[in-house]
Amino acid sequence: MAKGLYIHIPFCGSKCPYCDFFSIRPTDELIEKYTLSVCKALKNVPYEFDTVYFGGGTPSQLGADNICRILEEARVEAKAEITVECNPSDCCEENSFDFSALSKSGVNRISLGLQSGIDTERKALGRRAGVKEAEAAINRAKKAGIDNITLDLMLGVPGQTADTLKESVNFCVSSGAKHISAYILKTEEGTYYYKNRDKLNLPDEDACADLYLECCELIERSGMRQYEISNFAYPGFESRHNLKYWHCEEYLGIGPAAHSFIDGKRFYYPRDIDSFMNGCAPVNDGDGGDFEEYAMLALRLTEGLSDKKTRERYGFGIPKKIFDRAEKLTDIGLLNIDSGRIYLTKKGFLVSNSVITELLT
């Protein structure tokens, strides 16, 4: 069966104050060396891929031509979904990032880090470009024939209110995006946000929860449907690549800190660009794909954990004790049980760590 391919591009033009991802500022020399390293890592890969995802970091920092070079090395099926994450500031101007070249190489989905439709909020998030630039980038992608566009939104941004959130969602919908990812901001240790969390006027737990529920409702009013905790799409535009993660299907990750899951094994490249470029082999991360992992991931989806699918995959159904525990949580509105399927409600998604722990402990 065809697998997913994830290519990690660890370059960023600048560091965002909330982000703890591994990234470095690229030089032309580094870009060339890195592109060659990725191509080399892909050279003898025996798998076919039906989804490809360039994530980061900021893949647009690599340049469209290099992304095309990498794509040539992989065995990608004709109908594959190929996504490239872009930073609006890299691709808003005429003659900047070449969407047409990407389109010709088969790229058919663009993910833009919008974060917010309000310039003051974008600024607080350390994003260089404004909303106008984002709009321009979207239009350039569409003009190049890529109209499957997904936008990222951030919830719980300093100063965010129900009104500014509504404005952000409206911007996404009217821009013609087919898909929205809306993430509740988490202040990760070691970031500027973490250090200054008391000064930043960050919405508290209740306010974040309210923003999330509000956001779900606003997006679904547009006709998009929630299909995962943080993901919404018009029917048919769900991310096929990301669904592989949540369906516990196989994928290969290339690049420093990129993870893979193949043949029941999880492994990853160390979080160090030099060792990756020197050809260092991936590190074993243990076995994967058992029922607990499968259930943990399935419960992130609106379709939830299905007894039938569990049975098809493992030869046994959802254990009775899990149904029993789930039963207790239906009363408090955190999940539903419907014809052998356990699925979380929006309220349940908000406390999904606890719900999943409760079900699986």
């Binding site: 901001l185 905790i229 993660y245 949580l329």
Partner: protein, 603 residues
């Protein structure tokens, strides 16, 4: 070779906490070259970590010093250390029984404090010769003349030639040694009489078994003798006798009347070597044992449970070992609906409780949950019977209760007079009955109150210290039981009674306490997936309530390829966290919440 009896001096040092007892002991060790200077760490007698950290001496210790006096003779000085705190009067008492004299240390910047008096009276009860020493004269705020006069006026000791020293700098400390030789009488006792040796302490050693510390009153004992414990009737063959040196055990050929030393005899069970028992020889037993100690009963009780039920046996072993060195500790198995299997432990007071708890956690590496401390209440039933309870769980149905009695104490508080107002407010708020006030000097007072014991055991001492910026001192003794209007408070989480949090309280205090408990629980129980009502009730009547709102957000927003193992680890961590919680029906309560309720204070 044993020295002749008239060259032996057996003494203790008594003092109020922080008046410099341990520091003085260190200087005496130094002056007698009992410890090489390079081995001197501060307060060498306090060898438990806890003792050094808290600056108090918990256990009695003993050490033999060789001192060459001004008369050119070598004297054998046996220093038997005593604890200073009010909770440990019992241990003071047993140390004093092994001595002929006591050095009373008084801080020349503080004057007489509560425990100065309490310990002095204990020493006088034992007919000891008391040598007053005025300490800390190096400090600018020292008032040696005033304090000496205070000691003369209040205690009636002649201080005209009392050594005035600085234990810290060593100034005049040699005068203390000389005073011990000249003022404290040599022990009496007859080597030819049948052996009578008082066990004043014992320690458990994993290689030698129980090491028994004794003061020989009459007769002699040596290796090979068959010793007989007069109280228990147990017999052992003596393996070794000797003296306690500051840093080692020094074997000796025999211990004679008047001497202080140790005996090892492969004693395995702790109950065969009770502190306070008399050792004699099986071949020539003494007709009468020495008078035992004043029997002290535990006054404060609480449940002690292992956080992990699998540690129950380990907890039992640890308590057994602690009881070996601590006769005042009692424990009996008990079970709680929510905490599982544990022990009902009895303590002398709250400090004793805290020390035992800390020792269990530190020295035995146990994770514990303790319940709210209780005193012993006498419940008079309508059918005329009287029930004594130290555990609120056993509180009978109020319909069958005629009336209740609770223990009261005579409490003395010594303080600078400027704090009289705030101290009286505190005592009043703890249901104290004012009995009188004496001016020790023009600006220091002795305030005398009758206070219910259950008002003292929670946090009285802490409150007193904070209200008086640490200047007041406090001592109490149980006086009697008094009729009192008591009620039992129950805590309910999500409608279920949490038995471990129930306690008995005077009805006047019930509402305020109930509100505080409800608040504490609300603040310390993390939000869970559903709303949790917290209620505090008397019988079926809820008198305080709070609500722990449902948790709103606990989510990993992004979970892509690289996040899956992270999410798995998070899941494992949360599962682990769940195991550390105590489940009360559907509610999970972390240990910290328990501790917060147990440590209710006024702040």
């Amino acid at each position: 070779m044993a020295v002749s009896k008239d060259k032996i001096r057996n003494f203790s040092i008594i003092a109020h906490i922080d008046h410099g007892k341990s520091t003085l002991a260190d200087r005496l060790l130094e002056l007698t070259k009992s410890v090489a200077l390079r081995d001197m760490t501060e307060q060498i007698l306090d060898d438990m970590d806890l003792e050094r950290e808290r600056g108090i001496t918990i256990k009695a210790h003993a050490v033999k010093l060789d001192y060459t006096a001004e008369d050119g003779e070598i004297y054998e000085l046996n220093l038997i250390d005593t604890p200073g705190h009010v909770d440990f009067n019992y241990e003071v008492s047993r140390s004093l029984a092994a001595c002929e004299g006591a050095v009373l240390v008084v801080d020349s910047t503080q004057g007489i404090e509560a425990q100065t008096l309490a310990n002095t009276y204990l020493a006088l009860d034992h007919d000891l010769e008391i040598v007053p020493v005025i300490n800390k004269i190096d400090l600018p705020s020292a008032m040696p003349d005033e304090v000496a006069k205070e000691v003369e006026d209040v205690i009636g000791l002649d201080c005209s030639d009392a050594p005035r020293v600085s234990a810290k700098t060593g100034l005049n400390v040699e005068q203390v040694l000389e005073k011990i030789v000249t003022a404290i009488p040599a022990p009496k006792g007859d080597d030819s009489l049948p052996l009578r040796a008082l066990i004043f302490d014992s320690v458990y050693d994993s290689y030698r078994g129980v090491i028994v510390y004794v003061r020989v009153m009459d007769g002699k004992i040596k290796a090979g003798d068959t010793m007989l414990m007069m109280q228990t009737g147990a017999r052992f063959t003596v393996v070794e006798v000797g003296y306690m040196r500051a840093q080692s055990m020094e074997p000796a050929s025999e211990l004679c009347a008047g001497e202080v030393g140790y005996i090892t005899a492969s004693i395995k069970t702790v109950r065969d070597a009770n502190v306070g028992d008399t050792v004699t020889l099986a071949t020539n037993p003494a007709p009468e044992p020495l008078p035992g100690y004043r029997k002290v009963l535990p006054m404060v009780f609480c449940g002690v449970y292992p956080a992990d039920g699998n540690d129950y046996e380990a907890l039992r072993d640890a308590l057994e070992k602690l009881r070996l060195n601590d006769a005042a500790l009692s424990f009996d198995p008990e079970t709680s609906g929510v905490l599982g299997f544990g022990f009902r432990c009895g303590f002398l007071g709250l400090l004793h409780l805290e020390i035992i708890q800390e020792r269990l956690e530190r020295e035995y590496d146990l994770d514990l949950v303790t319940t709210i401390p209780s005193v012993i209440y006498k419940i008079h039933m309508t059918d005329g019977t009287v029930v004594e309870i130290d555990n609120p769980t056993h509180y009978p149905n109020p319909a069958n209760i005629d009336y209740c009695e609770e223990p009261f104490t005579n409490a003395h508080i010594y303080s600078p007079s400027e704090y009289v107002g705030t101290i009286m407010d505190l005592c009043q708020s703890r249901r104290g009955v004012f009995k009188g006030m004496d001016y020790i000097t023009k600006d220091r007072v002795d305030i005398f109150y009758e206070l219910p014991l259950n008002e003292i055991i929670y946090d009285f001492f802490d409150s007193l210290k904070s209200r008086t910026r640490g200047y007041a001192s406090f001592d109490y003794e149980i006086c009697d039981y008094r009729r009192s209007n008591l009620v039992k408070l129950d805590v309910l989480l999500n409608g279920d009674i949490i038995d471990a949090l129930s306690f008995i309280i005077h009805s006047d205090m019930a509402y305020a306490k109930a509100r505080k408990i409800a608040e504490k629980l609300k603040d310390n129980i993390p939000r869970q997936m559903f709303e949790i009502p917290v209620q505090v009730a008397i019988g079926g009547k809820v008198i305080a309530r709070e609500t722990i709102k449902a948790m709103r957000k606990d989510v990993l927003a992004k979970c892509y390829g690289g996040d899956i193992t992270r999410k798995k680890k998070l899941l494992e961590k949360q599962k682990e966290g769940k195991k550390r919680m105590r489940s009360f029906g559907s509610v999970e309560v972390p240990q910290e919440a328990f501790m917060a309720v147990l440590k209710l204070d006024d702040n």
